[in-house]
Symmetry: C2
Subunit: 437 residues, 2 copies
C-alpha cells in the first residue's frame, strides 16, 4: 500500500502509482503531480445508476461515498431537466430567465426567511471564498476560526482556512483552529467546551489585531471525522462567535440537501440561523453549481466594495438541474428516507461495534455516518477497511485528522437491500482485518 500523501485533501485519496495500466499511465502524464486517485489499483468507472456504479471490468460497486450524485446516479428526472435546458438555452445571468428565479425561490423556501439573497456560482470553493469576503466586509475584521481538520475548498483564500490542506507552513496568522466537540477534547460537556474554545480563539484573534470575521463550520464536521451530536452544539458555537463580533458561516456543501435526514440543512438540527450559508456538491446532482445565501444587508455591504458576477453561475441549465434535484428530494421523500435508513444503519453499526474492539465510535446523522476505528494505527486500519470494502464491491471513504474514521455517504435513495449489502460487507471486512500488533 502506498503512503498516504498529506497533500491529499479529504484524507482518503491515494496516489495511484501502480504501473502497467495504459489508462493510468495516460492519466499520470496528463494530470502530473496533481493526480489524486482512490485505491491502490484505481477504478475505471463507465456507468452509474441509482446507488450503483459499474466499472470497465464489469464489476458493480455500491456507492457508499460519493455525495455529489446524492439523489442517485444519472437520476432520470435530473438528466431530463439538464438535457431539455441544454438543448434550449445556456446563457449568463446578465439576461433574465424565469427558471433561475423559480429555482432561487424554491431554494429559499427551504431556508430561514432572513436569508433571502442568493449568489450562484460553480463550486463550494467559490462559495466559501465569497462568504469569507462578505464576512470580512461586514465585520471589518480579517480573522477566521475553523475546526482542526476542516476542509472548505481549494482557492487561495479558502485553502488558508482549510487545515486538511495544509502540508507546510502551518496555520496562517489570521486563522485559529478549534478541536471538534468530543469528550476527548473537552471533557463531559463537549458543546460547552467547543463554544469556550471559540471564545478563547476569538479573543486571541482580537489581541493579534485581526478581529473575528467569522467562525465557519461544516455543520456535520465531515473532514473532522463526522460529528453530529449533541444537536445544538453549533448554536452555542455561533453564539460565542457573535459575542466576539464575528459572523457564523454554515458550510452546507457536504451535509446540505437533506443528507442528515433532519430537514434540508445540517444547521437546522442545531436550532440556529447562520449569517451565511454556503451550498454546493449535491446541489445539481453532478452539474457544477454552488451558492451563497445570506441576508440582503450583508450582500449589499460587500457589493459596496466590488461587484460579483459569475459567468457560469445562475445559468438556466444549472437552475434546471438544481430545480430537478429539489423536486426529486421532495417527490421521493428522500429526507425521510435518509432519516429512516440512517437510523437503521446507526443502530446496526452500533450492534457491530459493541462486539468489536476495532471500532472506537459510530457517529452521524441521516446518511452521513462516521465509523472511527480504534487504536494508534486507526489510520492504517481505515485504509485496510477501505480496500477490503472495495474488494466486497462497496465504495467508502475516510475522514478525521489522522484519517481514522470511515466516511459513509450513500445516495439518499438508499434501499433496505443496499443497506443489508453494505452491512454484510462491512462485517466481513471487519472480521478480515489483520490482528493488531
Amino acid at each position: 500500500m502506498t503512503a498516504r500523501s498529506r497533500s491529499i485533501l479529504d484524507m482518503n485519496a491515494f496516489q495511484g502509482i501502480a504501473g502497467g495500466d495504459a489508462l493510468l499511465a495516460r492519466r499520470l502524464a496528463n494530470f502530473g503531480a496533481a493526480s489524486v486517485l482512490f485505491y491502490d489499483q484505481p477504478i475505471e468507472l463507465v456507468r452509474g445508476r441509482g446507488q450503483w456504479l459499474e466499472a470497465a471490468d464489469g464489476t458493480s460497486y455500491l456507492d457508499f461515498y460519493n455525495n455529489v450524485m446524492s439523489v442517485g446516479h444519472c437520476h432520470p428526472h435530473v438528466t431530463a431537466a439538464i438535457t431539455a435546458q441544454v438543448s434550449e438555452l445556456t446563457i449568463n445571468s446578465r439576461y433574465l430567465h424565469p427558471k433561475v428565479e423559480t429555482y432561487l425561490e424554491q431554494l429559499k423556501a427551504t431556508l430561514p426567511v432572513a436569508l433571502s439573497n442568493a449568489v450562484l456560482c460553480c463550486s463550494g470553493s467559490e462559495a466559501n471564498d465569497l462568504a469569507m469576503r462578505i464576512a470580512m466586509k461586514a465585520t471589518n475584521a480579517r480573522g477566521f476560526i475553523v475546526t482542526e481538520a476542516a476542509y472548505h475548498g481549494n482557492t487561495r483564500a479558502v485553502t488558508e482556512i482549510s487545515p486538511a490542506s495544509w502540508t507546510r507552513g502551518g496555520c496562517p496568522e489570521h486563522v485559529r483552529i478549534v478541536a471538534a466537540p468530543t469528550v476527548a477534547a473537552y471533557g463531559a460537556d463537549p458543546g460547552a467546551g467547543f463554544a469556550a474554545a471559540i471564545a478563547t480563539a476569538s479573543a486571541d484573534l482580537k489581541a493579534a489585531g485581526f478581529g473575528l470575521a467569522a467562525f465557519i463550520c461544516d455543520s456535520i464536521l465531515s473532514s473532522d471525522g463526522v460529528h453530529a451530536d449533541p444537536p445544538g452544539f453549533l448554536a452555542m458555537a455561533a453564539d460565542a462567535a457573535r459575542a466576539a463580533g464575528g459572523l457564523c458561516i454554515a458550510d452546507e456543501v457536504q451535509p446540505g440537501f437533506g443528507r442528515t435526514g433532519a430537514g434540508m440543512w445540517g444547521f437546522s438540527r442545531h436550532g440556529f440561523v447562520p449569517d451565511i450559508v454556503t451550498i454546493g456538491k449535491p446541489m445539481g446532482n453532478g452539474y457544477p453549481i454552488a451558492g451563497v445565501v445570506t441576508r440582503p444587508e450583508l450582500l449589499a455591504q460587500f457589493c459596496e466594495d466590488t461587484g460579483y458576477f459569475n459567468t457560469f453561475g445562475a445559468n438556466p441549465v444549472a437552475a434546471a438541474a438544481g430545480l430537478a434535484v429539489l423536486e426529486v428530494i421532495r417527490d421521493e421523500g428522500l429526507i425521510a428516507n435518509a432519516a429512516r435508513r440512517g437510523d437503521a444503519l446507526l443502530s446496526a453499526l452500533r450492534d457491530i461495534a459493541a462486539r468489536s474492539d476495532r471500532i472506537a465510535a459510530i457517529r452521524g446523522a441521516g446518511l452521513f455516518l462516521g465509523i472511527e476505528m480504534s487504536g494508534p494505527d486507526a489510520g492504517v486500519t481505515v485504509r485496510c477497511m477501505t480496500e477490503a470494502m472495495r474488494a466486497r464491491r462497496i465504495l467508502i471513504g475516510a475522514a478525521g485528522r489522522f484519517g481514522e474514521t470511515l466516511k459513509l455517504r450513500p445516495p439518499l435513495s438508499l434501499t433496505e437491500e443496499d443497506a443489508e449489502f453494505f452491512l454484510k460487507g462491512f462485517a466481513e471486512a471487519l472480521d478480515g482485518l489483520p490482528a493488531t500488533q
Copy 2:
C-alpha cells in the same frame, strides 16, 4: 439611463432598476445587491440557436457579444455529447475515465509541447487563482503585474489582481499595473514601452520586498479595450517579466479556443510560450469547465505544499463537452472562419470609421474586435450605441478603462449574412447618435 456602477465587472452591465416588470422584481428580490443586468430594460431570453438568441417577446437578437457559446448556441454536437454523458455517468476524477484523458490529450495537442500537465476546474476564476499560487511557489515571490483595466476573475486572490473590479481601496500593495500598449501611453513603439513598464514595475515590486511572481495578461487585453497589435508585444513583455525572475501567465479565458483566428490561442499570435496558460469560458460551450495548463515541474513544486482536487473539474460530462467543442472547431473550420469573417469585419469597420469622427480606433483579431469611441464622453457614447444596437436586434458589450470601447465577440460560426446584418445595424446606430456637445 441609469448610472453605470463601478462595481460592475466588465464595464458594460447596468443595474436593472426599472420597476413594473414581475420577473425583474423577482430577480432583484433573489439576487439583491449582486444583481448585474444588461440594458436599461433587461432582456428575458428563452432560446438560442447558432448566432441567434430569442427573447420572451418573440424578438430575435444576433449575438455579437456572448463568447461562452462560442461555437454557436445549443450546438447539436455539443448538446448531444453532454446529453449522452450525463445519462451515462457523472463522477469525480478520483476514479479513472478514458474520456477525461482523451480530452486532455486533444487539448494538449493544441498547446506548446512543454505545457504537458493540465488541471481542470470549473471557472476561469478558479484557474487564475490556482495559476497565481503555482507562480508564487515557483518564484518564492508574491508580486503580480497586470494591465490597468484587467479582469481575471472573482475569487479573493484574483480580485486583488483585477483592477476592473476595484471600486474602493485602490491597488493592493503586492500588485502593479501597466497601461495597455498604445501609442497614447507609450509613444511610437508601444510594445517596447509596454515591456519597459513591466521591467520598471518588476523593479518596484522587488524594492518593496514582494518580488515578481508573474506578469499575467489576457492575450488580447479584452477588458483594457481589446489590444491585439502589433503581434509580438506579449513576447517582449514575457521576456521582461522573466528577466525579473517572474513567470508569464497567459489568461486565455476570453481569447482562447480559436477566437483570434490565428490558431487556437491568443498568445500564439505573439510568438512565445507562456509558463502557465489559463483557459475557460468557451471551453465547454456553456458547460462549466476551465483549466490550468503548465509545465510538470511547476505543478509538482506547487503540489509539494498542498494538494489540489476539484470536485466537478475533470468529470466525464465536462470532458465530453470540451471534446465536442474541439471537434466542432476542427470539423467546421471555425478558426479559419474567425480569421476570414474577422478580417472582413475589420476592413468594413475601418471604412465606416474613416467616415465618422465618433470612432477613435478599430482594433482586434479574428472575431474579437474593439471599437473605441472618440471624445471625452466616449463612455456615454458606448452606452448609447449598446442600447441603439439592441433596438436593432444586435447584442454587443463594452470594454476599456472608461468603458469607451465597444466589445464584439460573435460566435465563431458567424456567416457573411450575419456580418452584413451587424454592419447595417452598426452604421444606422452610429448615424443615429446624438450630436456631441
